[in-house]
């Protein structure tokens, strides 16, 4: 026992001495610790942003750590768990889904003053990108990658099946188009494994809910809205896609829309600009963008944003903010435009040749943004996502009726909110 205690004490002393000496060494340069989550494509633009920052401010260095994970929620979850359990960074990338949690845990500090001071610098960026990170009236993050959801469709299929280029189409017109695809490519006895599908129902109902002008949560994200008639209509639409029309397969956890799309087995799917890189990797060029068909007049596109926030313990606010600025800059936007990793935020980049050359209607992404509705990102986002995924699975696998699934989801959401008492 004594031996153990003395060993522990020695360890503690050693660690203490090490940290002191490290601090002493860190007189200069100023090290900004960055915690970043980026796809491999985006990593390039991140690293150039860091390089630009270090060039402009030679007395600063960036210590960057890149996160990765199975899925978007998993990455956020891992980040949150690590920060909650004590890992530290100065600048952290957190998408809108995790902002509320970081703020409520007291991990983020508001950066209103810094944004105000650089108002002119940020003027070419749509207001909605910043508003996504507003919590209780204060702003916490600088946007980095914005992704609003639109339909990606197979131009060759549409052409062959005789469908005209979609514009501001409605759900009826969309179903019509899918019907034409089905009739053209499928025979009544084509087995599922060889069928050409029109679309795959959503993993979560957010995108279609937005297209129908409603949402799974109420307006200020404090309670569930899932039992409303509007939401039930959305869910019925999803159910019909599988069972009434047969345009969609039953989604499974490893359903890969991009693979299916690129093998010409899927005519349309919903995605944000992040998907363009994958399309390029698969050497697929017969695609174009259209708005998500409107279910109601007041429908809109759903969008999510990822941005950089400043942790509460950050000592060098201005330097950290300067780093954040590099991630929301015209140079970065131009890279985003040419590499097609996400929506270029600066207007100039969105109107550039490089971006517009990707496809005839790629401007749809940028045009949809001002009126787009935020992805529901309450404080219990992780739980909400699991509940929504379960609900959708229950509905499309006919495990429950829509009313039952919705009632269960409502209950679970209420329980999830209860757990996050602050």
């Amino acid at each position: 026992m004594k031996k153990f205690l003395s060993l522990m004490l020695t360890l503690a002393m050693l660690l203490g001495m090490m940290s002191i000496s490290m601090n002493a060494l860190a007189e200069e340069p100023i090290v900004i610790k960055l915690s970043m989550a980026a796809s491999d494509a985006e990593k390039v633009s991140c690293e150039s942003a860091i390089a630009r920052f270090e060039e402009k401010y030679p007395n600063c260095k960036v210590d960057a750590e890149f996160y990765a994970g199975l899925s978007w929620d998993e990455i956020i979850q891992k980040q949150l768990t690590q920060f909650a359990s004590g890992t530290y960074a100065d600048v952290v990338y957190i998408a809108i889904e995790g902002t509320q949690l970081m703020v409520n845990y007291g991990l983020f500090q508001p950066i209103d003053d810094l944004i105000e001071a650089d108002k002119d610098y940020f003027s070419p960026v749509p207001e909605s990108a910043f508003k996504a990170f507003e919590v209780n009236g204060k702003y916490y993050e600088v946007p980095f990658n914005c992704n609003d959801m639109c339909i990606v469709y197979n131009t060759k299929m549409f052409q062959e099946a005789g469908i005209e280029t979609p514009g501001q189409w409605t759900v009826e017109e969309y179903l019509d188009a899918l019907g034409k695809i089905d009739a053209y490519y499928n025979k009544p006895d084509t087995p599922n494994s060889e069928k050409v599908w029109g679309v795959v129902t959503g993993e979560t109902p957010y995108m279609w809910a937005a297209a129908y002008g409603t949402s799974v949560l109420n307006d200020d994200w404090t309670a569930s809205n899932i039992t409303s008639d509007a939401m039930k209509e959305v869910l019925q639409f999803q159910y019909d896609l599988v069972y009434k029309y047969g345009y969609s397969p039953v989604r499974e956890s490893n359903t890969d829309e991009v693979s299916m799309f690129c093998s010409n087995r899927l005519a349309t799917f919903i995605a944000g600009p992040y998907i363009l890189g994958s399309l390029k990797n698969n050497n697929f060029t017969d695609w174009d963008i259209a708005i998500v068909p409107r279910g109601k007049e007041n429908g809109s596109a759903a969008y999510g944003v990822g941005g950089l926030g400043m942790m509460t313990g950050c000592q060098h606010r201005q330097e950290a903010f300067n780093l954040m600025k590099e991630f929301c800059s015209i140079e970065l936007s131009m890279t985003q435009a040419t590499e097609a990793t996400s929506l270029p935020l600066f207007e100039e980049a969105a109107n550039s040749e490089a971006w517009l050359a990707q496809s005839p209607h790629i401007n749809v992404f940028y045009d949809e943004l001002p009126n787009a509705s935020k992805l529901p990102s309450p404080i219990c986002y992780a739980e909400l996502n699991v509940i929504m995924k379960n609900m959708m699975t229950n509905i499309v696998t006919k495990a429950m009726t829509i009313d039952e699934a919705v009632a269960l989801a409502d209950q679970e959401i209420a329980a999830a909110y209860e757990e996050f008492e602050f």
Binding site: T81, P191, S193, E252, S253, R265
Partner: protein, 305 residues
Amino acid sequence: MSRQSGRMAGMNSRRKDEIAGWLFTAPALLMFLIFVLIPTFAMLYLSFTSYKMLTPPTFTGLSNFIRLFTKDSRILTVSLNTLKISVISVVLNVVIGIILALLITNRKNGIYSYIIRLFYFFPNIVAPAFIAIVWAILLARDTGVVNYYLHSIFGLQPMGFLTEGGLALGSVIGIDIWRNMGFIMFILLAGIRAIDRSYYEAASLDGANTFQLARHITIPLLTPSILLVMVINIIGELKTFDIPNIMTEGGPNNATRTVAMYIYDTAFSKMSMGYACAISVLFVAVIMVVTILQFRLSNRWVNYD
């Protein structure tokens, strides 16, 4: 004097040995302390608290356990799933293993054994994570190979191996069996080969046929190995995490969620560390019971052979 100094020397060298003994075990002891003892006590302590990680744990007494036994609907589903997976796959594994072992015990051919080992044992060596990825692709409902052959050979409609509750759990169990039956077969094969030939010779001289030989000699003498295999396998299966997590992510409506997965979700998704520790305590208790059963049973079989 020589005897005295001899004894003294003996005692001193014994003392030195004792010190050496402790020094040698020290690293293991240290790790045991840090990674077994302390976490166990921490786990016990935290199970009586509510701990969200940022704020220090707040003592809540038995409320976690009360909630676990009364208000938690998921623990029942999850425990049942884990139980089903463990019991069914172990029983089927053993049955299939015995049959296979009996069928090929006489084949001594080197090449044949080599190929059999390759086919049956390889799934056990590959990481469960990779197995889950490959099988998820094979079992996909509308794009999967299994459904394709079921349709073209038997004319069956596509089955949701991963999307329909009962079937999903069946798929997980099936994959576990696929993975482990080779391992079990080889253990049992070793057991069979260890049985004294004279038993068989005597019995067949008395006119016993193959089935009787198997039933009255092989299997009874094999029961120690069978028991051992069953218990080892069950404890491993109780901890299942990798395959259901990757293949079905908990399955349609929690149909394939296991206790280990539930603990992970509660701790790292919902960040309710206190409650997760309460579930862990329950989990550990169950495993302890099964392990103690193993020791008891092993005492019995150690005796008669």
